[in-house]
Symmetry: C2
Subunit: 484 residues, 2 copies
């Protein structure tokens, strides 16, 4: 049943990042053969230039600030964050950008690797051009999966491209902290890198025309703005009109003034990494996102799949890995003529992409959300009720940090009596969101959630307060308290 030669495999995966690895892993676990094609490091952006290094840059400073917010612990923190040690820890997590351990993993599970740039050159055919310009033609028995991810988008600002600013790659792999850093953009990468670098003593300026975290509930951007400003970040609702490389760094024209900084990071969005992978061969347009159905199969094709950023469903590593599991399993099922479970929430579909995508910004404070924001839920036509509660009023939060500030929002679909969106903002909320994801994905009725008792005194008691604020269907509703 499995087909392998030096150049023929059951499945070819273009890319070898986390998503590609998961696709190939499911393929070989299903008994088929797989090859991954990678022009850079096996492990991809997440391992070397995104999730992992960025969180190491943030975590040590975050833990130190947490200790400083507690009587008794604060007194013990007499030194400053050791930036060199943080960077060394980051280097250890990225293995100094050496992918040998991931190559060993591929070998161990039996996934073939061809290094080079892969391009579609025919039906189930990928031609790989190596760094020495030699080419290898690979053919697939069943499917080709595009997992090439995305690239940073550079906005159209005069001089920006020529000035060669930092992208998230350079920001997460820098070997020293600049004296000053300007960040263009207000999304997750912008607030995370601002959080990291301001803790290194860098003078950080954020230039975000529409403010911070615009896709989240309004209070998320507000709380993060307040907090980052307290840490010393200069946040301006402004867009640069010109950028120039100077001897000392960058001269940025913004609001008619010139801002001089040592480094400039552009974090304004992503474009698909699909401009040079032969999409024309299958009738698609080079440089486009690849549209797929819920089994991650490219629309109009019976053998091309796309998982991860490049399909534009949800540009997050964990969501790409989720798609990868469905992709790998459905390719195996179709190849072997086994049942395909492609009903909503089935084994072979990525239904959660539409309804329950969790996201965490590891900023100061953290922002963790899943499902729809209140605005998005209303726009989608749901009969929405919104419940807010201050996290600082929760006993568990007041114990976690003196002067704890944060907020939670629960968005309820009144018609079905289930939660469709939750947002938490505050210190250490990143691990709180999984409970909300399970509630949404499991469509657990509000009535039943009353029985999911939060342990006291944890921050999760926010669940009880949100439910109490919502009111209890079936219970006696609040009436006037009569004590006389």
């Amino acid at each position: 049943m499995s087909h392998t030669s030096d150049s023929h495999f059951d499945v070819i995966v273009i890319g070898a990042g986390a998503v590609a690895e998961n696709v190939a892993d499911r393929i070989v676990q299903g008994g088929l053969t797989a090859v991954v094609v990678e022009s850079e490091l096996v492990g991809g952006d997440c391992s070397y230039w995104a999730c992992m290094p960025s969180k190491t840059l943030i975590r040590s400073g975050m833990a130190l600030r947490a200790a400083k917010r507690l009587g008794g612990a604060a007194e013990a923190v007499t030194g400053e964050l050791d930036v060199a040690a943080v960077l060394a820890r980051r280097n250890s997590f990225t293995h100094d950008w050496d992918d040998q351990s991931q190559v060993d993993w591929l070998d161990g599970v039996g996934i073939a690797l061809v290094r080079g740039h892969g391009r579609l050159t025919g039906i189930r055919e990928v031609t790989v051009t190596a760094s020495d310009d030699s080419t290898t033609v690979l053919t697939a028995e069943y499917a080709v999966v595009v997992c090439t991810g995305s690239d940073p988008m550079l906005p159209d600002i005069e001089g920006l491209k020529d000035a060669q600013p930092w992208t998230p790659r350079e920001a997460t792999s820098a070997q020293s902290a600049p004296a000053s850093l300007a960040i263009i953009g207000g999304g997750v990468v912008a607030v995370e890198m601002a959080t990291a670098y301001v803790s290194f003593g860098t003078e950080v300026t954020i230039l975000a025309r529409s403010g911070l975290l615009q896709r989240q509930e309004d209070f998320a951007g507000d709380l993060v703005s307040t907090s980052l400003r307290q840490l010393g970040v200069d946040i301006r609702k402004a867009s640069p009109t010109a950028v120039e490389k100077t001897a000392a760094g960058f001269a940025i024209t913004v609001d008619g003034q010139v801002l001089e900084v040592e480094k400039l990071l552009v974090a304004t969005g992503r474009v698909p990494r699909s401009s040079d992978i032969g999409l024309e061969v299958v009738g698609l347009k080079a440089g486009d996102w690849i549209e797929v159905d819920d089994t991650l199969k490219a629309v109009g094709s019976d053998w091309l799949y796309a998982a991860g950023d490049v399909n534009h469903r949800a540009l997050l590593t964990h969501q790409g890995k989720y798609q990868a599991r469905a992709t790998g399993d459905v390719i195996v099922a179709r190849a072997l003529g086994k049942p395909v479970d492609d009903a909503p929430w089935g084994t072979h579909v990525a239904t959660a992409d539409h309804q329950a995508v969790p996201q965490v910004a590891f900023s100061e404070p953290e922002v963790a959300s899943v499902g729809l924001t209140s605005t998005a839920a209303r726009e989608a036509g749901f009969d929405v009720r919104v419940v807010d509660y201050e996290l600082g009023s929760i006993a568990g939060a007041s114990l976690q940090a003196d002067g704890y500030e944060g907020r939670a929002r629960m968005v309820v679909d009144e018609k079905r009596g289930v939660i469709i969106g939750v947002t938490f903002v505050g210190q250490d909320v990143s691990e709180l969101i999984q409970a909300a994801t399970i509630a949404i994905v499991g469509e657990v009725p509000i009535d039943r959630l009353w029985h999911a008792v939060p342990a006291y005194p944890t921050m999760n008691e926010i669940w009880l307060r949100l439910l109490e604020t919502y009111g209890r269907p079936g219970a006696i509703q609040p009436g006037p308290a009569t004590s006389a």
Copy 2:
């Protein structure tokens, strides 16, 4: 509909701890009148001598150790935990054992307060004896609710009672750290107080005949033992045979030797605080736990209820508060002739007491669990499958702390395809357990949980690893990986 005079109320609640407050709150929210009877502080043990002070004693040291486990942050922690500042923070959380703010809260929501010792003296009648020995007879139109809680149990050890050891009350309210402390017991209080005091520089010895955390999964006690020993705690599987008060403290005979310590804490279990509340009047035995049905009504009575520790269903503040909500609501419903929803998981029953009680030990490391242990599940006759995974192998955990050690266990009911028990042990796992509680209470099928994607890189990715280890029903099952 509501009945109030100086001595007649719709509902009398004996006790004014967290559980009693929640019962009374639901009663007045439902439009009836309520009085609480309290001989000590309004707010009870949880506010003044248990949950709140114990966690403040633990939290600062925990945060400091977290910082020390991170390159870059560790270098900044050059001082020691400031014990006086920790105790001052604890005093602030207990308002120096002044209950005025809670009295104000009662006033604000319209709950009456009578200070003194309450005893049942007739049908729906409670006689309160004040500290000046004056008495007040209270009568209830509908119900009396016993929320008196529990007292520490002193084991039968020669000389122990006369030696007047610390109970959890004294351990959580101490104004200085003793040079040495022995703890008899191996449960949650024992490991929490060991964690707190060893961080204060106290020489701590635990005497636990059966080891630590015997009601939890085996690995919980093992990991906590290892960790506490690393912090310097002497843990002995031994039971004292005699205790004597000395000038310097206590002389404890154990294993034929004498252990001399400044303080001795006994934390070996609880007894119901019901020996002097007039239970005989309703045909119950003084000093017994009060048996109740799922609406928290005492078996055999139509007007007596018991919520919290005293009913022996689940001796935890959060679970008592959960019972309190059902108790208050069902009393109102019955009084007003409204529908009573007492089917399992209904509004007026405490179903979760049987199936989904979460518990957190804020020890080093934390232990968080919900539902059945693997042993309890097998004993209960479930068709059980147990899945373990090392938390340290999760990317999010390795980022959280260098050298992270911890473990997770998921207990699955194979017949229904749902989770019935989860245990997490490790740094910062206390907030992870709510997701498991929702999965269990919501009876979310394993198939569906695959769609509850954990955000990367958080520690919650343990969910994905547990599921992968379990295997995916409906997906192609792992076969031999064929790469040749």
